[in-house]
């Protein structure tokens, strides 16, 4: 199987005042195309740092990071931005939609950033994703006019609209009630199964992790378990 995300002995050390904080102490992880994995662990174990490094938003102190066959480790800031634009879609706990734009405006903005040449007409990918996420009726609403679950679905649609190689979701159900959490997790599962979308999701929620193909557990900047789930 083709690896979409590959980290080899990835280390990340922050300097906080005069103290070195070892957020990642040597992470080696492979995520294959079409996989849906969950990363769990207590707060401060390095989950979010790993996600930000994987998305090219942080530069690791050492180790190697390969995204869809490209070695990101040696890339410049501009090259990492370009890689993120082409290959990564982020989903955040707090949705992070542009409040001044409608749901459609948020999607169009992501499309425009992806491709300057794409016009405002509804793209085929957008139409398909909106249908899958049941958002066709919500496109002209601004984020504050939508429920939390709907906002997160718009955020997911924005993350996948450009068909990235990898979705990085940082606690996507963290701000949702159980009913909306279930809807969002169903959507992520649907994207993975129907579109073959590769997803790496951070979560504290065992129920959410249970929807993934594999659960990676982290503690103190290290992976302590990496087990495939057996579906009943």
């Amino acid at each position: 199987m083709q690896a979409i995300l590959e980290t080899i002995d990835l280390k990340m050390t922050y300097r906080v005042g005069k103290v070195d904080v070892h957020a990642l102490r040597g992470i080696t992880l492979t995520v294959n195309r079409g996989e849906y994995i969950a990363i769990m662990g207590p707060s401060g174990c390095g989950k979010s740092t790993l996600l930000h490094v994987a998305g090219g938003m942080l530069t690791p102190t050492s180790g190697r990071l390969i995204i869809d066959g490209e070695d990101v480790t040696a890339m410049t800031d501009a090259q990492r931005t370009e890689m993120r634009r082409r290959k990564i879609g982020f989903v955040f706990q707090r949705f992070n939609l542009f409040p001044t734009l409608t749901a459609e405006g948020n999607l169009k903005l992501a499309e425009r950033i992806y491709s300057k040449h794409r016009n405002g007409a509804e793209s085929e990918a957008r139409r398909r994703i909106l249908k899958l996420l049941k958002l066709e009726e919500k496109m002209h609403h601004k984020p504050l006019e939508l429920s939390g679950g709907e906002q997160q679905r718009v955020a997911i649609a924005r993350a996948v609209v450009n068909q990235p190689a990898l979705i990085l979701a940082d606690e996507p159900t963290g701000n949702l009630d159980s009913e909306n959490s279930k809807v969002v997790l169903d959507m992520l599962r649907g994207l993975n199964e129907e579109l073959g979308q590769t997803i790496v999701m951070i979560t504290h929620n065992p129920e959410a992790a249970g929807r993934a193909d594999r659960v990676v557990e982290m503690r103190d900047g290290l992976i302590v378990s990496n087990d495939a789930l057996v579906r009943g």
């Binding site: 930000h52 993120r84 634009r85 082409r86 001044t100």
Partner: protein
């Protein structure tokens, strides 16, 4: 991207309005100051040239249209040009000069710049009305012309043009009309007549009265000369330079250009205004965009997470600044038109909204805005994406 910029403008209407107002202030400053200078210069220059006399004979030295020492030239030149100079028993040493061939009429004019109204200034002419009639198209449309100023009544009479009569009130606070009293050179004058067309200063008093107010010498500021035929202008100028060297002789047609050259101080003032307007526009946009970038740090983080390059983030912020600047420039022009109307209807000032100053104002507004937004834009582009995303 444009929709994001537009949406941001709509989302923060107060900030948008304040930024627009700042840019428009600069535009109004430049447009009205430039227009005012041009309007007043053009009007004064037109009135200087709006006479039939083709030549102006002035004292030697640098040519100054407006001077604090107004009467520097002997008024007898007017008579000398027409009739020549002969030695007299009183003055046997004077060098004889024949009349200047081709001169049909000549009139001495005294000119003085006095403060007028709350804002502005105005020229006052001292004229010899009889010879003025011979060198210009002046006609009295109400009342009567000026006397020679040698008797008590005619010495304190004035004539004014139609514009002055329409735009001013007399000492009785009523619109100026024949019989009104007006203040000229700190003296009270009675309006004897209203004349047309406007030429030289709008207020004219007898030259003799002006001479007495300035020390009694039989002097004037310049002599206006009318030639027999237009094709004789050059010949007359050459003769004048030959007979009376050391003086300035210029064709009346060159007066408007001369006016522009004499406004060096005004040009400096305009440069200051242009500089001030640029600083205002730049600072207002800089502060506005800096504030908005701080407020929208998290949104910058989102853009970065979507893969927006630094250049794209700079361009999004610059587009927003350009939109605000454009709206500010348009608002500035609307306010300038209103300001022009207000100024012209309540004062004697004339404002020309000409293309040159409109373009300068628009350029300042737009460039100031783009320049002001550049630092906040670069700062936003260099934000750390993770820190920006966690900004509260």
């Amino acid at each position: 991207m444009d929709s994001l910029s537009l949406a941001n403008l709509r989302q923060r209407p107060l900030r948008t309005a304040v930024s627009m107002a700042g840019v428009s202030l600069g535009v109004v400053l430049v447009t009205l100051m430039g227009g005012l200078t041009r309007g007043m210069t053009r009007d004064a220059a037109n009135r200087q040239s709006n006479v039939d006399a083709e030549i102006r004979f002035l004292p030697g030295g640098p040519i100054s249209i407006t001077t604090s020492n107004p009467l520097m030239l002997s008024a007898r030149y007017a008579d000398a040009l027409l009739h020549g100079i002969q030695p007299t028993p009183d003055n046997p040493a004077v060098e004889a000069r024949p009349p200047v061939a081709g001169v049909m009429a000549a009139t001495p004019v005294g000119q003085y710049l006095q403060a007028a109204g709350a804002i502005g200034f105005e020229l006052v002419d001292g004229v010899d009305f009889q010879s003025l009639k011979d060198t210009s198209r002046i006609r009295i449309i109400k009342g009567h012309g000026l006397g020679d100023g040698s008797d008590e009544q005619s010495a304190h009479e004035a004539i004014v043009d139609k514009y002055y009569a329409e735009k001013n009130v007399g000492l009785d606070n009523h619109p100026v009309r024949v019989g009104s009293s007006i203040k000229v050179l700190d003296q009270t004058f009675t309006v004897a007549g209203i004349y047309d067309p406007p030429m030289l200063a709008r207020v004219k008093i007898p030259l003799k009265t002006m001479q007495e107010l300035f020390g009694g010498a039989d002097n004037c500021s310049f002599v206006m000369i009318k030639v027999e035929k237009p094709e004789m202008i050059k010949q007359v100028i050459d003769t004048l330079n030959e007979y009376y060297p050391g003086n300035n002789v210029i064709p009346t047609s060159e007066i408007p250009a001369l006016y522009s050259q004499n406004l060096f101080a005004v040009d400096v003032l305009l440069d200051v205004v242009v500089g001030l307007a640029s600083v205002i526009s730049t600072l207002v946009i800089l502060l506005g965009m800096y504030t908005t970038i701080t407020e929208r740090t998290r949104e910058i983080g989102i853009l970065k997470s979507l893969g927006a390059s630094k250049r794209l983030i700079v361009s999004i912020i610059e587009r927003e600044a350009a939109l605000i600047s454009l709206l500010g420039v348009i608002l500035g022009f609307v306010l300038s038109v209103i300001g022009r109307y207000s100024i012209q209807s309540s004062t004697r000032l004339i404002v020309d909204l000409d293309l040159k100053w409109i373009l300068i104002a628009a350029t300042i507004g737009m460039l100031g805005g783009l320049l002001g937004a550049f630092y906040p834009a670069v700062r936003a582009a260099n934000l750390d994406p993770v820190e920006a995303l966690s900004y509260e």
